[in-house]
Structures are given as C-alpha cells and as structure tokens.
C-alpha cells in the first residue's frame, strides 16, 4: 500500500506495541460488529487479510466499518482524505494492517 500519507517509516508499529495492539482490537471490533463473530472467526482474519477478497465484504459493509472507525477516532484520524488519495486498486487491496498502521501513525503524529 503506497497511499499512507500519515505513515512515516519511523511511525510504523507492529504487534507487541501497546498502541498498535489497542488499535488492532478496535478495528477488529468494528469488523465483528458488522459481519458477526462467527463469520469473522471462520475467515481466520489476520493483519494481512484484505477487506474485499479475504473477508469478502461488500462495499456497504466496508462503509459501515469505516463509519464506526470515523466515529471512534473523530477529529484525530482523517480517514476521508486518506481514502480520497487511493486508487481503486488500492481500495480493493486494502488490508487490516494498512488501516491499523494508518490510525496508529495518525495518533502518533497528533501526540507528537
């Protein structure tokens, strides 16, 4: 994913980083709220799962998940500008990791 304007190399985080893990949990909860726990577990969703192909979400489900995240991080994470800069192919290939990294980087930049 090349379109991560707020994700500087030194702002990247990984599993084990408390903020990364917390954001990961929040993103998971948003997905589970839309697709249900049973389906989420059945898909064996991981950080590198794509929303479109691996989790097989419809665009209206992706929309619902993004709205939940927009509400959760209102005023701190600019999802709309981030999505705006993406090519269609990037949207299709969007992974959980992309979203978590973007949120973490946005929160870190805000705190800096």
């Amino acid at each position: 994913m090349s379109t991560q304007p707020a994700v500087a190399a030194d702002a990247r985080a990984e599993t084990g980083d408390p903020l990364f893990d917390e954001v990961h949990r929040t993103v998971e909860e948003a997905i589970v709220a839309v697709v249900g726990r049973w389906y989420y577990d059945e898909c064996q969703v991981g950080l590198d799962s794509t929303f479109a192909e691996d989790i097989e979400l419809e665009s209206m489900e992706v929309m619902e998940i993004s709205e939940r995240l927009i509400d959760t991080y209102e005023g701190r994470v600019d999802f709309v500008t981030w999505f705006s800069a993406m090519e269609l192919e990037e949207l299709v290939e969007l992974t959980l990791r992309d979203v978590v990294e973007f949120i973490v980087a946005s929160l870190r930049q805000l705190a800096a």
Partner: protein
C-alpha cells in the same frame, strides 16, 4: 452516516467535508443507480475525493442499501420527491450540483425539470435518459432476476447470474434482491412510468454535462440527450462499458471536479493526470 426521514421514508445519508468549516462551498449530491447497489462504492471512489472542495452528500435511494424499503413508491417522480425532501431535511437551501449515475441520471435530470430553482447544475455519469419506453432497458434484466428468485434455484445460480465468486456475497445480494424486486412495486412502477420527451427536457435551464462509455448500453442515448438538451456538454470515453466507466475513478472524478469548479465556483483541485477523453456531441 445518518438516517434522515424524507418524504416519509428513512434514507441513509453520508456527508463529507474536509477542511475548514468557515467557507462557502458548492453542495454536490450523488445519486446512484437502481438495483442491488447503493451509494457506498461511489462514496469511496468519487464522493470523498471531492470533499476537500465541496460539501458532498450521498444517500441510498429508497429500497436500496440501508435505506428503508417501502412497498410502493418507485416511480421516477417518487425518487425526485425523496431528493427534494432530503434537501429540506438537511436544511440545504442553496442550488445543489447533482451527479446522477446510471438510473440516478434520470433522477437528476427529472429533478432539474421539476425543481429548477434547487438545481445549480447536473453531471450525468453513463446515464439512463428518460424518454418514450425508457424503462425497458432496465426492466428486462430486473424481470429476469425476479423470475429466477420466484422459482426454485440454488445459490450457485445466483453466483453465476451475477458473476460472483463469494457465496456469502451472493446470499446477501439475493436477500436484498428478493426484498426489492419481489417485495416492492418497483417492477410495476417501472412498467407504468410515464414517457418523457422534448417538452419536459425544455424545462432544464441549468448547465448539464454528461460522460458516456462508447461500449456502454447507455451510449446510444447520447444523441437523444443532445437533442433534448442542446446546451448539454457531452463527453465520451472510448471502449468503456457501463460497469467499466465506474472503475475509471480518476478520469471521471476529474471531469466531475472540473464541472463543479466551472459551475459551482469551487476552487479547482490540483489537476490529476487525465486519460484522453474525446468531447462529444
């Protein structure tokens, strides 16, 4: 996302605005096509990219997406009444710039006929043009889908019919299609839709632009639109079909941004690379 009650129906609405709130911006309202779609795809690909220069509104038509599915009220003028009521509910009292996609193009042009004071301009993306017998083009595939849903069928048939590889998506689409096609008056309403013609289109005074894919089933409607609306500025994209044109998000997005910049006094966005598009008409 908000749910807004308009014309007696709960409509799901998204509104995007990036940047300072203390400036005047044109209001751009996207209207999606008819069927099993809603506005969510358009939100990501065309709506959000406009949000740094415009106040962008997208909503799911009645019977679509997460909007309410009333059993009746699927004539073109019902959708136009919903749109007018939605603008009232959102307290939008300036002329808006409508972006009508596919069937949404017919809604946008009809809104420009009936509510000329509320429509600042119209941009049509591979639109359906309301004209004598105009609903046949969309009724036929919808009747086919309805006939499959009425008889015993497997989910694999639905997957084949829609070109889907995901069983889960096919089940979701089938549920929505069953609710919409078999649970509402949409097919009857399409069949009894009044014809529109040159006299109706003469009421359109606002700027109107459109882009057609030359490989689209809508492309033969381009000269008709030019006849009906002589001041229309028409474009075409070579070799692109009806679905394909919605994938050309950069090119189409730039055309919409240019249109709104010209007719809505919006600051022009940084120009992006635009594929060659032959002005038509």
């Amino acid at each position: 996302m908000a749910t807004v009650r308009a014309n007696g129906v709960e409509l799901r609405v998204n509104r995007y605005w990036v940047g300072p709130r203390d400036e005047d911006r044109p209001v751009v309202v996207f209207i999606h096509g008819l069927g099993i779609v809603d506005h969510s795809g358009l939100s990501f690909t065309l709506g959000m990219p406009l949000a740094s220069t415009a106040d962008v509104v997208l909503y799911a038509l009645r019977g679509h997406g997460r909007s309410e599915v009333p059993p009746t009220g699927y004539h073109l003028d019902d959708h136009v009444a919903d749109l007018a009521a939605l603008l009232d509910a959102l307290a939008i009292d300036v002329p808006v710039h409508l972006v009508g996609c596919s069937y949404g193009g017919a809604v946008a042009t009809r809104a420009a006929m009936l509510h000329g004071d509320r429509v600042g301009s119209v941009f049509l993306l591979d639109p359906l043009i309301a004209s004598p017998g105009w609903t046949m083009m969309i009724r036929a595939p919808m009747e086919t889908a309805a006939s499959v849903l009425r008889r015993d069928h497997t989910i694999e048939e639905v997957m084949d019919l829609l070109g889907l590889t995901s069983r889960r998506k096919a089940e979701a689409v089938e549920a929505r299609a069953r609710r919409f096609l078999l649970g509402t008056s949409v097919l009857d309403d399409l069949q009894t839709e009044p014809d529109l013609g040159a006299d109706d289109y003469a009421a359109i005074r606002c700027p109107l632009s459109a882009v057609f894919g030359t490989g689209s089933m809508m492309y033969p409607l381009k000269p008709l639109l030019q006849d009906y609306v002589p001041h229309a500025e028409l474009h075409e994209i070579e070799g692109v079909d009806h679905l394909g044109i919605f994938s050309l998000t950069r090119e189409v997005g730039q055309l919409i941004a240019d249109h709104v910049a010209r007719h809505g006094a919006v600051a022009t966005a940084a120009p992006a690379a635009v594929a060659p598009i032959a002005p038509g008409g």
